[in-house]
């Protein structure tokens, strides 16, 4: 668990980059930090691995203040991914991935076993292990960057706009893949982005920052349903209701199937978002069945979806 306790960063010239930011990241959770540029999101995150030193307040990892830990040891225990990736161009992909294990003195067998495992995880062919990063595409490079951060099995990974420099299609693919990887691993993630859609998609919780202060810290659904103020509402954008449908899964809304319901045409998976579900319902003009592991587990109608959107929308209007 990461606890930020009134974390504050004031630079030598008096600029306040981050002021009294407090929130907690539960173990295994992904928190996205989002806000306009200059809001202090990256500074907030880098205070966790002490690339930025806290001026005031504290940050604790599992109860121990980061200030009481050796910064080098601390950073080796925390994965780190940046937008520019920063792959070491003179090292092969395998050497890049195993850099932290190497710094920690793992044996060659342990390192190559880990590289093999990670290449599988990030869905790159084993043949890239001996290639230099210069030969890889942008998406492949960023995958390697993620693998490098995970190599020494850290409990925490910090990601600074990791998919920011990629084209929209690659970015979306990587987001999906990363969500899968993240579900499979029990790792706590802090993820900085300026893109609210990415923040809502990737985060179990979203921290919205503005001018160095934490404006709202909530699960995506709650952020969409009840933005705390106009700034958050504006930042989320006009298409709030549609975004909300993206954030809610079919499982949360579906009703029990009636006896004798067949799977029907193009059934839904319970993990699908309401947005995809609504699109399919509208296209086919009929309610959809929800199928999991070959079994019908629920049904979803247009009215069910509308109820969610309507309820949330009216909640927002009350604010």
């Amino acid at each position: 668990m990461i606890e930020l306790d009134n974390a504050t960063k004031v630079y030598g010239d008096g600029t306040v980059a981050v002021e009294d930011v407090s929130f907690e990241v539960e173990e295994g959770e992904t928190v996205t930090l989002v806000g306009p540029s200059g809001c202090g999101k990256t500074t907030t995150m880098t205070m966790v691995n002490r690339l930025t030193e806290i001026s005031d307040g504290d940050i604790r990892i599992d109860g121990t203040s980061v200030l009481d830990q050796d910064p080098i040891e601390l950073r080796r225990n925390i994965g780190y991914v940046i937008q520019e990736i920063g792959l070491f161009e003179h090292m092969t992909v395998a050497e890049n991935i195993s850099i932290v294990p190497d710094l920690r003195g793992w044996s060659d067998e342990e390192k190559s076993a880990r590289v093999e495992e990670l290449l599988d995880l990030i869905e790159l062919p084993q043949t890239v292990a001996d290639q230099y990063p210069g030969n890889l595409s942008g998406g492949q490079r960023q995958r390697v960057g993620v693998a490098r951060a995970m190599a020494a099995e850290p409990d925490i990974i910090l990601m600074d706009e990791p998919f920011g420099a990629l084209d929209p299609i690659t970015r979306q693919n990587l987001q999906e893949e990363f969500l899968e990887i993240q579900r499979a691993l029990d790792v706590t993630i802090m993820f900085v982005t300026h893109d609210i859609d990415e923040a809502l998609k990737m985060g179990d919780k979203v921290a919205v920052l503005r001018d160095g202060e934490l404006v709202q810290y909530d699960a995506p659904k709650d952020l969409l349903g009840s933005p705390k103020n106009e700034f958050v509402a504006d930042f989320i954008g006009e298409d709030r209701v549609l975004k909300q449908l993206t954030a809610v899964s079919v499982r949360e809304v579906m009703t029990a199937p009636k006896d004798g319901d067949g799977a029907g045409e193009r059934p839904l998976s319970p993990e699908e978002s309401l947005k995809v579900a609504l699109q399919r319902i509208l296209q086919d003009g009929s309610p959809k069945m929800v199928v999991e592991n070959g079994e019908v587990v629920g049904r979803l109608t247009e009215a069910d979806v509308a109820a969610v959107a309507g309820a949330r929308a009216s909640e927002v209007l009350q604010q």
Binding site: I72, E73, N77, V100
Partner: protein, 221 residues
């Protein structure tokens, strides 16, 4: 006046007739040059690293090295004789001094050009300053540093020729003797061998430089 072809023919005939002494002088020449380049490496590459870590020293150090390079060797060598005597010693001192600019400047520039994102990533992953220097910065800067070494080596091989005038030996001896004896084929022949030596060194080191990771990307001479 003899036709050109005869001069060329005579020169090559002279080279073939004097392979033994030329070989000996080539070895002497290389001995002086390589000793100088080696001493220069030990001095200037660390100095280049130092001025990169302490940038306030970079302008005076690189400026001084640049000034040294503008001193003509025929002026610098006699100046060194009262200090270190005659023979190989003043030659080596002068050649080491001449190597300062390419080596220090390229080390500094090479390190300076290392992509900032790699350094940030390295630091974020928990590298110490030392690990960053030896695992990331120096390997990444190596092609540029090596280009500086190559440049210095070629320069040194050329200037070693002049050092023969002050008793350092090498292929310059044959050239100066040829001038004194008014024997053009000897002057030309020895010059061709020096040039071949310089070109071979340049090309050989270029091949090494290209074989370094990322070396083919930076072909600064």
């Amino acid at each position: 006046m003899k036709p050109t072809l005869t001069i060329v023919g005579d020169t090559f005939q002279w080279i073939l007739d004097n392979t033994d002494s030329l070989l000996e002088q080539t070895i002497q020449h290389l001995n002086v040059s390589l000793t100088s380049v080696f001493i220069a490496l030990v001095l200037w590459i660390p100095l280049g690293l130092f001025v990169h870590e302490h940038e306030e020293f970079a302008p005076p150090v690189i400026g001084t090295a640049g000034m040294i390079l503008t001193l003509p060797s025929l002026a610098l060598l006699p100046l060194l004789i009262p200090v270190v005597g005659i023979g190989v010693a003043p030659a080596v001192v002068a050649l080491v001094l001449y190597s300062a600019l390419p080596m220090i400047r390229n080390t500094f520039t090479g390190l300076d050009e290392v992509d900032e994102s790699m350094i940030r990533a390295g630091r974020g992953l928990g590298m110490t300053d030392r690990e960053l220097l030896f695992k990331v910065k120096i390997p990444m800067a190596l092609p540029v540093i090596f280009a500086g070494i190559r440049q210095a080596a070629v320069l040194v091989i050329g200037i070693t020729t002049i050092a023969a005038f002050f008793g350092a030996g090498g292929l310059g001896e044959a050239i100066f003797a040829g001038i004194r004896l008014d024997y053009p084929r000897q002057v030309l022949g020895a010059t061709i061998v020096v040039s071949a030596l310089a070109i071979a060194t340049d090309y050989g080191l270029l091949l090494v430089q290209r074989s370094l990771p990322g070396g083919s990307l930076s072909d600064e001479s």
